[in-house]
């Protein structure tokens, strides 16, 4: 009663950040871009939520893990 659930969007929109700008390259050296694919707790967002393609998701996963190693992105956010 106190918690109001945000209405779930009927269809996950496929319009991802990467689809709108084809020039974007997924790279571990670009943490600003990768941050868009992390939750506020630092977890990688599933592709079904972010709407990226499977190939892009594989690239994102790899890039995020590399960026974490270089302390460009956090492993966890407490």
């Amino acid at each position: 009663m106190s918690e109001e659930k945000a209405p779930r969007s009927s269809k996950a929109s496929r319009a991802s950040l990467l689809a709108s700008d084809k020039t974007l390259v997924i790279d571990y050296k670009n943490p600003q871009l990768l941050r868009a694919f992390l939750t506020d707790r630092g977890k990688i967002v599933p592709a079904r939520i972010s709407g990226v393609t499977a190939k892009q998701q594989r690239q994102i996963t790899k890039a995020v893990k590399r960026a974490r190693m270089l302390a460009l992105l956090p492993y966890t956010v407490a």
Partner: protein, 166 residues
């Protein structure tokens, strides 16, 4: 091996006369000064020369706040190196980095196999090496991540049963 590849490790796959392209990001302790960086660069250049490798590019990304402290250091100076060589240079390069006390962390990525060394001219000049010791002119203001995307993810993190919380 009967071929004359002594002193130079060539993988079975690699084609003759080609090299591999690597890039390495090094995080230095924040208290390393200009001379410390120059010293490291010159030392590594000696290593590269000895192993027949070639530095293509070197960049100083400046001092950045680390996402988490490394060896108790909250910040670090990022150096980016790109070079051509065989697997032996990576091994030797990283061994030297491990010895160096100013290095907090390093990470090497293989970019490409079978690169023709002539096709990748080195951008390294003495001026450039001097410039590496200086941090980049404008310290990057942390740009805001794309808001609308983030908001969508945030709402998903706790709203429904898509993801269970830890």
């Amino acid at each position: 091996m009967s071929e004359s590849t002594v002193g130079q490790v060539v993988s079975v796959q690699s084609r003759k006369g080609t090299k591999r392209e690597y890039e390495t990001v090094i995080i230095l302790r924040p208290n390393v000064n200009k001379n410390g960086i120059l010293e490291l660069v010159h030392k590594m250049q000696g290593v590269f020369e000895k192993y027949g490798a070639r530095l293509i590019k070197i960049e100083n990304w400046g001092s950045r706040t680390l996402a988490f402290p490394i060896k108790r250091s909250p910040t670090g100076i990022y150096l980016y190196w790109r070079f051509l060589g065989g697997s032996d240079i990576v091994h030797e390069f990283e061994r030297n980095l491990q010895i160096s006390e100013s290095v907090l962390r390093y990470y090497t990525v293989r970019l490409e196999d079978d690169v023709d060394p002539d096709a990748r001219p080195s951008e390294i000049t003495e001026d450039l090496l001097q410039a590496v010791a200086e941090p980049p002119p404008e310290p990057e203001p942390q740009p805001e991540p794309v808001r609308e995307e983030e908001d969508r993810f945030v709402s998903d993190d706790d709203g429904d049963d898509d993801e269970r919380r830890r």
